[in-house]
């Protein structure tokens, strides 16, 4: 695999015994490094090596204490995983550090990557691994009063495993006090030069935050001096649930991660499982998947566009785009049965074949949509007030984007032509023709413009799907396909047994690790799955674009005004369920 070069480079530089290699079935070079040389190695990878790994793509941990299938890996109770991304090499790199239970701490990497901040807090919150030197190491997703670290294997997953929930008055008071914001804790001052600063609590209930997000603003007049984001109000323990659902029954949970873009969430999950299981998907299933995913990309962007326009005060576009979305949903409904959360992808294919008449509906939609987009262009994108509200607001550069792990339309808005569908074609995207829209300034307007163009490109892809839908099966004949094709179950005992097991227990996916990232509507969404060779995943890590992008908001909104903040968070296009999982 291509990771050999960097492995040799690191061995040469830091010593043969420092780096040990683990083979994983996803082909991502995976290196174990000792705790002491971690920061040094990471800093080297980010800045010194040729074609550096400039982005900290993900940072998470694994509770290894009850994992049985760890052949060839160093002893470890808890493993912290740094997932780096190099755009120059178009390569990933996974750095792992083994920790023993008695010494659960690591030096912080916030000095190397600013976006390590939230990730380290999450690891602390979920696993209780401390990061020395972290500026604000406190809980991020769980409430500050929570006891225990939920993603540890000994933490209960079901409410019934815990005592009945009670809220006596003193507990209520305590919980409320814990929500009180104290500026000093965040290193904020109450005054600046000769002005007193005002702290404005925006959310978690606020019409402009698109969900349960709390922003605490430090204001001088209406100018934003600093901001602190408080997330976790939408946390639903999706990763923990993954450890108790079977491989198959976890699919519906994925739909609800980024609840605006339905099956787009299924995509990375089933691709990762298929990689673990070595399942090859037939062409028809591939094209159906792509068609549905692109339809949902349009749906997600339409919601973005309408609500973004509403955030800057235009009341009408949201009604127009929701009407269009309704048209798209009627197609989704005809094909999948469901609408927002169709749970349509399956391990090894999709749930069912396309229904009769699907092509007519798609064709109508392809005719209907482009004039509508043209209308939005004229109504909103060319409006002078809209331009005044969004141009040069909340801009970030390509370098910032690298530092903060920005992917998707936000990255393309800084002028970087990068789309995972093009650069790492997955699931059959290499067979399609489409362009990668980019913009130059990286501001709110550009992020919106990129998404507008992406809708057109998605229509192009859907049209190609329509014209070239292959014949054949919509599901693989592989034995891990769930639920399996039933045609031959009554003829031979092997298929009957497989069918029975896959439907009742769920498939047993071979032990191993695999990550799969896809270009979701909001950016790169990936699932890092660890199988211990059983019917349930050992660890499900969901890396979502919204988490990475939202973290950047204070950085890009300093010095702007309160209305700009709303434009900025609108342009980021996040979904709180995608942030908190």
């Amino acid at each position: 695999m291509s990771g050999r070069a960097i492995t040799e480079e690191l061995k040469g530089r830091f010593g043969e015994e420092t780096v040990s290699v683990q083979t994983t079935c996803d082909g991502v070079p995976t290196l174990w490094v000792p705790r002491e040389s971690l920061c040094e190695i990471l800093a080297y990878l980010k800045t010194e090596t040729e074609e550096p790994y400039r982005t900290l793509y993900d940072l998470t941990a694994i509770d290894e204490r009850v994992r049985s299938r760890r052949e060839g890996q160093p002893e470890s109770d808890f493993t912290v995983v740094y997932h780096l991304l190099s755009y120059a090499r178009n390569e990933d790199l996974r750095i792992k550090v083994a920790l023993r239970e008695r010494a659960l701490s690591l030096p912080t990497t916030t000095t190397i990557w600013p976006n390590a901040n939230w990730y380290e807090r999450e690891v602390w919150d979920m696993f209780g691994i401390a990061f020395e030197g972290h500026p604000h190491l406190r809980r991020i997703l769980m409430p500050p009063t929570w006891e225990g670290h939920p993603l540890r294997k000994d933490h209960p997953a079901r409410a019934t495993e815990m005592g009945p929930y009670q809220l006596p008055e003193e507990k209520e008071v305590r919980e409320q006090m814990a929500l009180q914001f104290r500026p000093e804790e965040w290193g904020m001052k109450r005054s600046r030069e000769d002005t007193d600063l005002m702290f404005l609590n925006l959310g978690p209930q606020h019409p402009g935050t698109h969900g349960l997000l709390r922003v605490i603003l430090e204001l001088d007049g209406e100018e934003i001096v600093d901001a602190v984001l408080d997330i976790g109000y939408h946390h639903r323990a999706a990763e923990k649930m993954g450890e108790r659902q079977s491989w198959h029954t976890f699919i519906p949970y994925t739909d609800r991660i980024d609840y605006m873009s339905g099956v787009t969430n299924n995509f990375p999950y089933v691709l990762a499982v298929e990689k673990l299981g070595g399942i090859e998907v037939p062409d028809r299933a591939k094209v159906i998947r792509i068609m549905m995913a692109e339809l949902f990309r349009i749906i997600s962007h339409l919601v973005f566009f309408g609500t973004f326009a509403q955030d800057v005060g235009a009341l009408s576009p949201v009604f127009f785009t929701f009407n269009d979305r309704e048209k798209a949903f009627s197609i989704v409904e005809a094909i999948c049965g469901g609408r927002m959360h169709p749970e349509w992808f399956r391990i090894g294919g999709v749930a069912q074949d396309l229904p009769k008449g699907w092509d007519g509906m798609i064709r109508d939609f392809l005719k209907y949509m482009p004039p509508r987009l043209g209308e939005y262009e004229r109504m909103v994108m060319k409006n002078r007030i809209f331009k005044a509200r969004t141009k040069s607001i909340g801009a970030f550069t390509f370098d910032d984007a690298m530092d903060w792990g920005v992917t998707g339309p936000g990255l393309r808005a800084c002028g970087f032509e990068w789309d995972f569908r093009k650069k790492r074609p997955y699931g059959g995207y290499d067979q399609f023709e489409f362009d990668i829209p980019t913009a130059q300034n990286g501001d709110c307007y550009d992020r919106c413009a990129v998404r507008m163009e992406e809708m057109r490109q998605s229509l192009r892809i859907i049209e190609q799907c329509l014209n070239n839908m292959p014949a054949g099966s919509y599901k693989s004949y592989h034995h891990l396909t769930t639920p399996p094709l039933k045609e031959r179950t009554m003829y031979d005992i092997e298929t009957l047994i497989t069918h029975f097991l896959n439907v009742s227990w769920g498939p047993v996916i071979p032990a191993g690790e695999a990550v799969f990232g896809t270009e979701a509507a909001k950016g790169n969404n990936s699932y890092y799955l660890i199988s211990d060779g059983s019917a349930v995943p050992y660890r499900v890590r969901i890396r979502t674009p919204s988490f990475a992008h939202l973290q950047m908001v204070p950085f890009i909104s300093r010095g702007f005004m309160v209305p700009d903040l709303l434009a900025i968070i609108g342009s980021i296009d996040y979904v709180l369920a995608d942030v908190d999982r």
């Binding site: 209406e222 009341l315 009407n323 909103v380 509200r389």
Partner: protein, 319 residues
């Protein structure tokens, strides 16, 4: 003499009833019109065409808990919503709906209107301040700055009309439009007045004091029940007032062929109101500093220019 008083009383009561009814009816009109432009239905369940929706809303708003925030400055908090309704209603006193149909004919009726609309700012500023909430405060501050600034351009934009008519008397101003409506020679003044009028009524695109996506509900965040209803009614009264005044000043008031004057006045006013609603359906909201910059850097020079040019032409014509 007694007849005169009774006639006046009838007009006073009539104007009061009609304007308040229109303000209430506007809620329905606006919701239906907005719905029409936004590809949806709007209220169409209560009564024919949903007309009784207003009544249902009234019942609801009257019977809702009228909550007084314990942290608010009580007296000011209560007075604030009353001010807006009072000032707008008072301003209606000088509007000539048709020949003879007006409450009072003042020689300075235009100045009276400007004075009343200036007083209106107290309502929002007080409301924002007395609520003792940060969102309300920000809304109140925005309102004060916005309304004070646009007051200036509003007054200046009307001077052209005053010069051409040679009077502050609204009846005279209408009478002098028999040849030509002032919206043609005073087109600059008209546009500036219209923009300032929208800003005065705090309607989108100038709804910054209540900007929902930013300030929740701005200056009236803490208001509920009928006190909130008063702001609501005040806003719709304001739209009606500005529309009526625009018609009086720039569109020949009650003048028009065939139909009776009052009908002409009503039709014209309604078209203006519909225009207000259309604005709300189509424009985004500028930022606070952009709004101020636009006012002082664009509208002010234009209205001054308008005064100079109009004055110059009038002088030349007189000579």
């Amino acid at each position: 003499m007694t007849n005169g008083i009774i006639w006046k009383l009838i007009i006073v009561v009539g104007v009061l009833v009609v304007t308040l009814t229109i303000a209430g009816g506007l809620i329905w009109v606006e919701r239906r019109l907005l719905a029409l432009w936004q590809d949806r239905y709007g209220p169409n369940r209560v009564g024919p065409f949903g007309l009784l929706q207003v009544l249902a809303d009234m019942v609801k708003v009257m019977t809702k808990e009228d909550w007084l925030p314990p942290f608010a400055d009580k007296a000011v908090f209560i007075i604030a919503p009353a001010i807006i309704v009072l000032t707008v209603l008072a301003a209606f006193a000088v509007i000539p709906f048709a020949p003879g149909v007006e409450v009072v004919e003042l020689n300075i009726s235009l100045l009276f209107f400007l004075a009343m609309s200036s007083l209106g700012v107290y309502s929002v500023a007080f409301a924002g301040w007395a609520s003792d909430s940060k969102y309300s405060l920000l809304g109140g501050l925005r309102a004060a700055a916005q309304m004070l600034s646009y007051e200036v351009f509003m007054g200046l934009s009307l001077m052209g009309v005053v010069m051409m008519a040679g009077s502050f008397n609204l009846v005279k101003i209408v009478e002098t439009q028999r040849e030509m409506w002032y919206c043609i020679p005073q087109c600059i003044g008209f546009v500036v007045f219209l923009i300032a009028g929208v800003a005065e009524t705090r309607r989108l695109p100038f709804d910054l004091p209540e900007a929902e996506s930013e300030l929740v509900a701005g200056f009236h965040s803490e208001y509920s029940g009928m006190k909130f209803g008063m702001f609501f009614v005040g806003e719709y009264l304001g739209i009606t007032l500005v529309s009526a005044l625009t018609v009086t000043l720039f569109f020949g008031g009650w003048l028009g062929p065939v139909l009776p004057p009052l009908v002409w006045f009503t039709i014209k006013t309604f078209i203006m109101i519909a225009f207000f609603v259309l604005l709300r359906a189509s424009l985004p909201r500028p930022r606070y500093d952009q709004l101020m910059a636009y006012g002082w850097k664009v509208l002010l020079p234009f209205s001054l220019l308008n005064i100079v040019v109009t004055g110059g032409i009038l002088l030349a014509a007189a000579n």
